[in-house]
Amino acid sequence: MEKVKSLADLKKIRDEVQSRIRLRENSDRPEKLVQIKVAMATCGIASGAKETLNTFVEELELQAIDAVITQTGCMGYCYAEPTVEVTLPGKDPLVFGYVDKTKALEIIEKYIKKQELVDGIIPVTYKTIDE
């Protein structure tokens, strides 16, 4: 990693990463680019979030669906772990609860491929600081 030597350097990184994310969203195949975040904090992992993450990685690769899968921290819905946030291009993010392997496959089959909602969506009930 290059050292960040100045405020300008820091802004450059920020803009780069932001544009990279935007690029992801506005890529030439928007229908294929899906973003998936798996909550991987202690309760998530204890509830099997690793397996969920693996299922998404393997299954999406198997089906050649272009997706960005990342881990993230606790979303706060500890009662419904593992939780996964799926953002389809151009759509609002959706959070799914109790995502085990079966549920993960169902999300891929129904929501990601057909935009059909599946049971177990967790309504987002908070404001972010940007609002």
Binding site: M1, K5, R14, I21, G73, V118, D119, I121, K127
Partner: protein
């Protein structure tokens, strides 16, 4: 590929299920089939909307119409009116309690604004193991701004202006703490992050460190700049391996970027952070004990003053803040003190993260503005009480806090109100209890914790809490007297008045608050020898209803002490003098003939 035009979301949370949301779903599906809309409309069962007070809840997408208190028989109406005719079913809409207007779009409902995420802003949003994602969310911009545009005095003024108070329990103004440490003259100073989150049932600091470690690192560097320290230390529980891991990764990446280390952002400011591990001692959350622990000593608190701001780690001025406090700092710098101090209540600014747990539907981490009421937290965000049971109490502040009751539900949560109500903010654990929780046992439970965790240095805490516990034990065993209740209160107040540190001074709170708020339950225990929650085993009495008992002998065969007798095919009875209240008979009886009296 089917493309549904409309989705109908039916709440499948426990509360709504209890009020027949499953039936609503069935009826909706029936109606959809009836009108031949299978290809256009899809019904989805969702997780809890958290609005259980008004449940069952149904939401129509894409127009975001939000129906409350829907009954199964309303399903047909929703399909006919809303889906087919495109008209909202007005009597199912939510009425804004303030304006008395019907609100249809959930985005305009106050309820959805209950949570504001400042400390948790990046948790569940960014990859905590990738510093770039933090930077993309304006990470380290606050540090950059501070180092290039502001003097330490200006930053401290900003912090004071923001009204941020320590989130670890005490609620001491953060800016003031920084100022005192800045004013302590010394060649070496330290910034310490207290990540020894020890309240049982609190896990907000763990979540922040696991989900957004960089926010803490950035804030510590800002603090270092303000107070004149170039060394930071994070004292973290050894029980949090994942948080330790994430923090290490973040430190490594920050160092690689030069955001920690020498000459940060070319400004000449040096700052780095080391980790120190706790080893399982709750009292180390107290800052002087924490410092002793970091010095390799027993984590015993010492009298303040001197405060760590004057003489702390290795005798040098040390600023100690907890994780959540630090997580607020970069936002305050970026968005300004005046943005921050508009959120919250008059004396408690900003938000507070709570770990909602216990007998509640939506166990989880929430962040609400200070001043939110307990009712909003429990019923609207927490989704109400599990299994439709009755709310009894909510415990805040962990072992240092107290149990609040129904009458406190509309109290706005902030530092001062909770103390006035006999509890405290603590680090933000919030445990909800229902009718099955015996408050005497709960008080005893917390006291057991204090007994385990008392450092033993001062007599009131070491011996006083032991005696308190013994009295409570006597009560739960059915041997308590009314004098014991007076004794509890007297002793509790002396422990509060005389103990050395915060742990001791607050340790009787669970006892004192339950005594105040649930006095009748104590009386029930000592005078009627009754535990209505059925938790105090010694007070239980199992009896066999001779009307129902078939004489199957199953209970007789399962009783481990031979307390049950009776002829086959005639009613059995329990010899109370022999019964050890194990409950085996109660569990085994197929006819529900055994009751708890």
């Amino acid at each position: 590929m089917t493309e549904f035009k409309t989705h109908i979301m039916v709440c499948g949370g426990t509360g709504c299920r209890a009020s027949q949301s499953e039936k609503i779903r069935q009826n909706l599906n029936t109606a959809i089939q009836e009108y031949g809309l299978e290809d256009d409309v899809q019904v989805v069962m969702t997780g809890c909307f958290g609005f259980c007070e008004k449940g069952p809840v149904v939401k129509i997408i894409p127009d975001n119409t939000f129906y409350v208190q829907v009954k199964p028989e309303d399903a047909d109406l929703i399909i006919q009116e809303h889906i087919i005719k495109g008209r909202k079913v007005s009597h199912l809409l939510y009425e804004d309690p303030k304006t008395k207007e019907m609100v249809s779009d959930s985005k305009h409902m106050d309820f959805y604004k209950k949570q504001i995420r400042i400390a948790l802003r990046n948790c569940g949003f960014i990859n905590p193991e990738n510093i770039d994602e933090y930077i993309a969310r304006d990470g380290y911009a606050a540090l950059g701004k501070v180092l290039t545009e502001m003097t330490p005095e200006q930053v401290i003024a900003e912090m004071k202006q923001s009204g941020l108070r320590g989130r670890g329990g005490g609620g001491f103004p953060t800016g003031l703490k920084w100022e005192i440490t800045r004013k302590s003259q010394n060649d070496q100073k330290y910034v310490v992050c207290n990540a020894d989150e020890g309240d049982p049932g609190a896990f907000m600091d763990r979540s922040i460190l696991e989900g957004d470690p960089n926010s803490v690192i950035e804030a510590m560097a800002i603090c270092g700049y303000c107070i004149g320290a170039n060394q930071g230390l994070v004292y973290i529980r050894a029980e949090y391996p994942l948080a330790i891991d994430r923090l290490r990764t973040a430190l490594k990446q920050a160092r690689e970027y030069g955001l920690l280390g020498k000459d940060i952002l070319g400004t000449g400011f040096n700052f780095d952070i080391e980790l120190r591990y706790g080893a399982g001692a709750f009292v180390c959350g107290e800052e002087t004990a924490l410092i002793h622990s970091m010095e390799g000593l027993r984590g015993e608190p010492t009298f303040k003053p001197p405060f760590p701001a004057v003489s702390g780690y290795k005798g040098k001025p040390t600023n100690v803040n907890n994780v959540e406090t630090f997580a607020n700092v970069p936002v305050i710098i970026n968005k300004g003190a005046n943005w921050f101090n508009k959120i919250g209540s008059e004396k408690s600014k900003g938000t507070k993260v709570f770990a909602l747990a216990g007998k509640i539907n939506n166990v989880g981490l929430i962040e609400v503005p200070m001043g939110t009421t307990l009712r909003e937290v429990i019923y609207e965000i927490g989704g109400g009480i599990k299994d439709g049971k009755k709310f009894k109490a909510v415990q805040t502040g962990g072992p240092s806090g107290g149990c609040l009751t129904e009458k406190h539900l509309d109290t706005p949560i902030d530092f001062d109100n909770l103390i006035a109500a006999g509890s405290m903010m603590g680090s933000g654990g919030m445990i909800v209890m229902d009718e099955d929780s015996c408050m005497v046992s709960i008080a005893k439970f917390y006291l057991e914790f204090t007994l385990d965790e008392s450092c033993g240095k001062c007599a009131p805490c070491r011996i006083g809490n032991k005696r308190l516990h013994e009295i409570l034990n006597k009560i739960t065993q059915g041997n308590g007297t009314k004098t014991d209740l007076d004794r509890l209160r007297l002793l509790g107040n002396v422990i509060k008045d005389c103990s050395l540190c915060g742990l001791g001074q607050t340790s009787p709170n669970p006892v004192l608050s339950t005594l105040t708020n649930f006095y009748n339950e104590y009386i029930d225990h000592v005078e009627n020898h009754k535990c209505s929650a059925g938790q105090c085993k010694a007070l239980l009495k199992y009896v066999i209803d001779p009307e129902i008992c078939t004489g199957c002998t199953l209970c007789f065969r399962n009783c481990p002490v031979g307390a049950i007798s009776g002829e086959k095919k005639s009613p059995h009875s329990i010899d109370q003098s022999l019964c050890i209240k194990c409950g085996a008979c109660y569990e085994k009886c197929k006819f529900n003939a055994i009751r708890i009296a």
